[in-house]
Amino acid sequence: MKSSISIDMVILLAGLLFALGIAGVIIRKNIIFMLLSVEIMLNAAGLAFIAAGSRWGQPDGQVMFIFILAMAAAEVSIGLALILQIYHQHKSLDIDKLKEMNG
């Protein structure tokens, strides 16, 4: 499998995805969407790692990716559990309603 993809292109793609993820997190008010957007960002980071690993021909990039995967899973599980609780308590997933603490 030969390709002559420029490293910059992949990183740029990852960066773009990362930025899209950021945009998603800020734009959306629904917590589920925010969580999704965070997943996008993590994925972008994973992509960057894979690209780097591939550039150096090392497995480390993929290893890191796997750990990211584990972390994403862990986080999503707790995140979703929290979402359930929030929904039960607030009957809404609007993040802007969670402003009780401020000042």
Partner: protein
Amino acid sequence: MDIAFYVTAAVTILATLLVITRHNPVHALLYLNVSLLSHAMLFYLLGASFAALLEIIIYAGAIMVLFIFVIMLLNLGKETAEQERKWLKWQVWAGPSLLAAVLFVELVILVSSSDGTAYEPAEVTPREVALSLFQVYLIGVELAAMLLMAAVVGAAHIGRHKRLVLHRFLKEEPEENVHEEEPVL
């Protein structure tokens, strides 16, 4: 193979864009799945076939399913979509998007200021990955296990749902509804 890369990249970007703009959660989720699959394709193109597989199995499979579960459980459908439509006015998203764009531009500038030599993606076989995982990074794997354990314990505790107890004699132990299973590694 450049074409394949660019097409996949385009698909990824498009799908991701749709994820963050859709109103209906389920739609968004599906687009995210598309995006993840194209990610897998990218991984493959970059010579990381093992990672590509894991992306599909765990991410697109397991993790997304979790989302689906929750969405189903909370019965998020049309109403949510309506709500999202109301929320997603341009006044709301213009500013944040601009921020994200600025950040992206900065990234682009910074990244492109590096040497930028094209390179050959070297293939890294699953075997190498596995060896690395279980030899060099063995402790890392174990730590990952602790990480997942933390997640499980935490999710189990938080997700637990107390029922309303109607009669004090019939007070039952709080039932544990584990919405979570340990993702396979």
